[in-house]
Structures are given as structure tokens and as C-alpha cells.
Amino acid sequence: MLSTHQLNITLNKQSILKHISLTVEPRTITAILGPNGAGKSTLMKTLCGDITAGLEQVELEGLGLHTYSSLELSNLRSVMPQSIQLDFPFLVSEVIEMSLVQPIQTDEKAIYIERALSLFNVSHLHDRNYLTLSGGEQQRVQLARVVAQVTRNQDDQQRYLFLDECTSSLDLAHQHQVFEVIQSIVQSHNIAVIMVLHDLNLAAQYADRLVLMKQGRIVNNGSVNEVLQENTINRVYEYPVQIMPHPKGWPMVIPA
């Protein structure tokens, strides 16, 4: 279980997160939503252990994050940041291989890399120079890397996958493919996903729980139907919206 109670984060004398209480349930997808500057990324970084000031305030399996080494944490969660800058010409297969902290045998390694790449339909990029890929291809390779890290052990330990705007460079079809893959691993691997999203409709379609933030506070936290209410969204985004049911059931947010 990953949880935080009354979390406060102050960076450069500015209060970024205020009184955040949140519990992430097993085998769920939680989407953190909110307007620009709401503190979504900071909350995600705090939960995954990037922000030193928040380490003691976040509990993983009942223990503060500060009690874990980075190696131990890497066995319990993996993280996809908003952007990754790499200046050296690694092959795609080598980028995936990096997610193996402990080296494994060559033949197992080949299987591991192939499985990771095929999950996101990027097997054909195996021998390509990462630097020559398009933004969308790079993003799918990085997704393959973080998903490989969080699914590399076959035990039933609960693990966490953090995704910050993980489909920002992808087209419509690839966006949906990625979320379908993520939904399926949540079920098959006992993984809880915490992701930052801008697209309310993607969140409505794929997330189990929504956390709506504004100015460093959680405004609303609950199921998709609980959170996506017209007046709430109007107030938080300061923009008029209308909510209509998608033919398949989930709510759809459109400008009023």
C-alpha cells in the first residue's frame, strides 16, 4: 500500500503541496488531474521518492520512503518522467537493457528485451539508434523500459508504476493502445498505476480513480463519476464544460 497523510511540500519557500492525503489501492489506475501549476507533477514526484523533503511523509508498505534504498525502491516501483534527455547514441535494445540493475544471462536478456518491446509494438526498432527515433517512438521505448522494470519479477508482490504525461507525443491510436496495455498489466501483475494526465476524457475512459487538484490541494478524490461533475470541473478549470455520457458508458467532458 502506498499512502500519504497530510502531506505538505515547500520548495524554495513556496508551498507547493498542502494537506494532501491519499491512498493508492492495489490493482487500480489513479489519474492525477488539474489545471497547469496545480502541483500534479510535484505530487507524483513526491510519491515516487524524487523529492527529499517528502520522503518521510510517504509510506510504502507501512514504512517511510526514507527507509528504502534506491535499489529496494526500484524493485517496488518504476517511473516514467515527463521528458528524458539522452545525448548518446544507444541502441533501443540497450535502453531497455538498462532497466536491469542486476545483470542476467545473455539468452534471458534477449527474451526480456523482446517481451518489453513487443508489448508496445516497437520490436522493429530493436537495433535502431535511439537518437534517430521520432518523439513518439522514443516515448514508446521509454514506456517499454519502465513497464519491463515493474513486471520483471513474477511474484505476487504489489508494485507501482508512475507515469507523468506518458502519451504526450503519441497519436490517437497509439494513446489508446498504450492505455490498453497498461490496463492489462494492472490486472496480470498486481500493479497500481499512478499517472498524471491532461486529457480528462482519457482519464475517464481508463482510470479507476481520479484525483483532482488545484493550487496544491486535492479538490476531489474518488471514482470517475464522482469526480467528473460539471460544476466541479467548471470551478477547478475556470472554464465552462458540459458532461455527456459516452455511448459505452463513461462520462465525456466537452466545452460548453
Partner: protein, 343 residues
């Protein structure tokens, strides 16, 4: 894109070529010796005392020092490029070498006066240890100035290097006024870089720290690979970033300090060698670090051969040869980056 798919084989070939070059270099110089004479001198078959003397007392220490210095500088350059996450770092360019040189010059000039106690305390190792501290200080300063949240700004890094080179240059200049005539002669060698006066004594000083760094740095190869995607990403993967940073910073300072204290400032070895290796073997530090050591050794040995033959019987400083190779190479790299960034 890469010239080989088998890094281990390529490393063995590099090792073999380095050894051939090394043996060949023993036969080159003011007195021409054939390979047979060189080999028999090395193996101690004393059929030619003169050749034995030239090889064992003059050329062999010089060769070995060249190998050590080249390997040390190149492996440090490769590791620094990983640490700063950009391929333009070089111990001399960013000022680590001049910081080490300043410390070494201070020990030479002030060793009899202000720093007397320090020199007596460290004895034999006063020179390389001081150079190590100078290099360590500079690396730390550059890291603090040019790096924020694990990202190094390339221009800030290079500009910090200019500033540090200026500061260290002026301080070294002041020290030369305090130096005696004999000390002065050794001082010019610091700024130009030379392995001409190599002795078994120099070798004894430099070998332990450089061999240690060359062997120990590849231990950080995998964390360095991950670090190229950023500090946060490598932490998420489970690597101990803090340990890696301090390991790499101290080991590079150790190797550069030792190299500088016996050969002065030889620039560009740490820039050219890792680039050549990346073209051959790709950017994986598991191969780049040992490969750079070999290519760096070759570079210095070849440059030294040129330095002592091109104007024979006079000798050029090896630093001049390396700059003649490295300067245009650096320019070519900058032009390439310019093309890539669409500037």
C-alpha cells in the same frame, strides 16, 4: 553505424595493436634500432650493451609513462563525459588538468618554504597527491557551477573551464616569478606537457594511482550508462547515484592528478579517445572505459613518436602534437553538434 558487434573481440584487437605500436615505438628515435635489437634488449640478451641502455633506461620508461598517462587521461575523459552527460568534457578543457598542475607547481616552487611541512609529510607522493587535490577541487567547482538537478549545461561547463584555466594560469604565472632557474625549466614543461624526461621514478609515482583508476572506473560503467538518461531516471532504476558521482569524481581526479604530476598538461586525449571508441563500439561505458584507456595510450605513444622524430634531433613537446590533433577534432565536433541542433 557501429563498426563492430563484438565489443570484447574489438577490445582484444585494440590491446594487440597497442602492444605492437609500443614495441615499434621503442625502435624509433634519434638512434635507429631494429626490432630485433629492441626485443633482445627487452629480454635481456646482452649482445648489444648500447642498445640495451637506450631501450631500458631511456625509451622503455618513456613508453610506459606515455601508456600510463594516455590511459589515465582518456579513461578520465570518458568518465567525465558520462558524469557531465555530454561528450565535450575533457580534463584539460574544463580546467581539471590546470588545477592539478597549479597544485603540483605550488609544491615544486614552495616545497622548500611555505609548503615544507606538507612535502615532508607526504614525501614521495607529495606531488601526485597535491595534484589530485587540485583536480578534485576543480571537478567539484565545475560540477557545482554547471550542474543543476543532475543536468549539466554544456556552455556553462566549458565557460567555467575557461575561467578556471585563466585563474590557474595566472597563479602558475605568479609562481614562476618565485621559482629558481632550475625550477623554471621544469615549469615550462607543465604548461606544454611532456614525457621526454620520463624516469623509473616518475613511473613509480604515477603507476599506482593511474592503474587503480583505470581498473576501478569500469566498476561504475552501468550506473554511468543509466546516468546518461538523467539523475532521477538512474535513481529510479535502482542505482546509487551519489556513490557513483563521488566514485567517478575522485577516481578521475586521481588519474588526472597523477598524469599531470609526471607529464604536465596534455590536452585533448580525454576528448579524442572516447569519441573514437564510441564510433567503434557504441556508447556503453562497459566498453568505452577500457577501450578509451587503450586508445588513449596509443594516442600518446604515437604523438610522442612524432614529437621526437619530426624535428630530430630536436624534440617537440607532446602537448603541441596533441593540440594539433585535438584542436581540429574539437572544432569538427562542434560543427557536427551545430548541424544536429539545426543552429
Amino acid at each position: 553505424m557501429r563498426l563492430t558487434q563484438s565489443p570484447v573481440k574489438a577490445l582484444l584487437i585494440l590491446l594487440f595493436v597497442t602492444m605492437l605500436l609500443a614495441i615499434y615505438s621503442l625502435s624509433v628515435g634519434a638512434i635507429a634500432l631494429n626490432t630485433q635489437a629492441v626485443v633482445s634488449a627487452l629480454l635481456g640478451w646482452q649482445n648489444d650493451l648500447h642498445a640495451t641502455l637506450v631501450v631500458n633506461e631511456i625509451r622503455l620508461p618513456r613508453l610506459l609513462l606515455g601508456v600510463l598517462v594516455g590511459a589515465g587521461l582518456a579513461v578520465s575523459g570518458a568518465a567525465m563525459q558520462g558524469l557531465f552527460r555530454n561528450p565535450l568534457a575533457d580534463p584539460a578543457l574544463v580546467g581539471v588538468s590546470s588545477g592539478a598542475a597549479l597544485a603540483a607547481v605550488a609544491v615544486i616552487v614552495l616545497g622548500g618554504s611555505v609548503l615544507n611541512d606538507w612535502v615532508i609529510f607526504w614525501g614521495f607522493f607529495a606531488l601526485p597527491f597535491s595534484a589530485f587535490l587540485g583536480g578534485l577541487l576543480v571537478t567539484w567547482i565545475i560540477y557545482r557551477v554547471a550542474t543543476k538537478e543532475g543536468r549539466t549545461d554544456v556552455s556553462l561547463m566549458l565557460l567555467t573551464g575557461i575561467a578556471i584555466n585563466a585563474i590557474a594560469g595566472s597563479a602558475t604565472g605568479v609562481l614562476t616569478y618565485l621559482a629558481s632557474d632550475e625550477e623554471l625549466r621544469t615549469l615550462t614543461f607543465w604548461s606544454m606537457g611532456s614525457i621526454a624526461s620520463a624516469s623509473w621514478h616518475d613511473l613509480a609515482i604515477a603507476s599506482v594511482p593511474i592503474v587503480f583508476a583505470v581498473v576501478a572506473l569500469p566498476y561504475f560503467a552501468r550506473p554511468l550508462n543509466a546516468f546518461l538518461m538523467g539523475e532521477a531516471v538512474s535513481t529510479h532504476m535502482g542505482f546509487d547515484v551519489k556513490k557513483m558521482k563521488w566514485g567517478v569524481i575522485s577516481l578521475t581526479a586521481l588519474a588526472v592528478g597523477a598524469a599531470v604530476s609526471v607529464s604536465g598538461i596534455i590536452g585533448f586525449v580525454g576528448l579524442v579517445a572516447p569519441h573514437v571508441v564510441r564510433l567503434l563500439l557504441g556508447p556503453d561505458h562497459r566498453w568505452v572505459l577500457p577501450g578509451s584507456a587503450l586508445v588513449g595510450a596509443m594516442l600518446v605513444v604515437v604523438s610522442d613518436m612524432i614529437a621526437r622524430t619530426i624535428l630530430a634531433p630536436a624534440e617537440l613537446s607532446i602537448g603541441i602534437i596533441m593540440s594539433a590533433i585535438g584542436g581540429p577534432f574539437f572544432l569538427w565536433l562542434l560543427i557536427q553538434r551545430r548541424a544536429q541542433s539545426g543552429f
